[in-house]
Subunit: 111 residues, 2 copies
DNA sequence: TAATTGTTTCTATATGTATAGAAATAACGA
DNA sequence: TCGTTATTTCTATACATATAGAAACAATTA
């Protein structure tokens, strides 16, 4: 995950998706939960390059983010809808927090 | 910061430092705060390579972590004492959290 | 079915970066 | 001052990866 977010283009995409489509379940009139909606790949590309044409580079970065478990992509007709993985940020935060929790002694060191 | 933690060796070093020397200010008998103490570079090296001899590779990774603001190094006699930067994890966590806070509309997209 | 739109995979290339050995620097003790 | 210990910087190399163009694939509409 850290490696995936280490690339500036991918971090840009991830924060864009966080802002655009952080998945908040919304109740509709019927009480159902609205489907996870967000930008298409074209819209992501648009934000990154300023041009709505989808480049192989953006597609590659989306794949990396998906494989790292940071985002999801889902086909909807002719489009692919992108969204952040709801527990991605939580997992990273947990990792950053539990350092001191699993604190060890210096006995582990070989000196 | 994400890029620095993206390398497996550096993530190993960082979590080791988090576990070994997470900087908790400790009051001494005189009321003073104990100095930030932690492993030396040799001890870090030992944890990473199993050998207390300091390699240029570990030194390089420590420099990267330092330049990313994730750790601190401080000379103490012949040794360099390593420690995590106290607000490094906090800054990352804040970044991961404020995505939805700064949520924007789809109007930003050029389509 | 053919054409069109949206997206991904393939292949190549250029840049970045992790690693390793050797030389250099810094602090301490004899 | 000289040698020893601890660590960093230098230089080169091998590997990883971001990028780009072209071809392939998938779903929709005419």
């Amino acid at each position: 995950m850290f490696k995936a977010l280490g690339d500036p283009t991918r971090l840009r995409i991830f924060t864009f998706l966080q802002a655009q489509c952080y998945p908040i379940a919304v109740e509709t009139e019927t009480g159902a939960v609205s489907p996870l909606s967000g930008p298409t790949v074209g819209e992501v590309c648009c934000h990154v390059t300023g041009d709505p044409v989808v480049t192989s580079t953006v597609s590659f970065h989306l794949k990396e983010l998906r494989q790292a478990g940071l985002i999801t992509t889902e086909r909807s007709g002719r489009h692919m809808i992108c969204g952040v993985n709801p527990d991605a940020a939580g997992r990273l935060i947990a990792f950053l927090n539990d350092g001191p929790a699993e604190r060890k002694t210096n006995d582990d060191c070989c000196n």
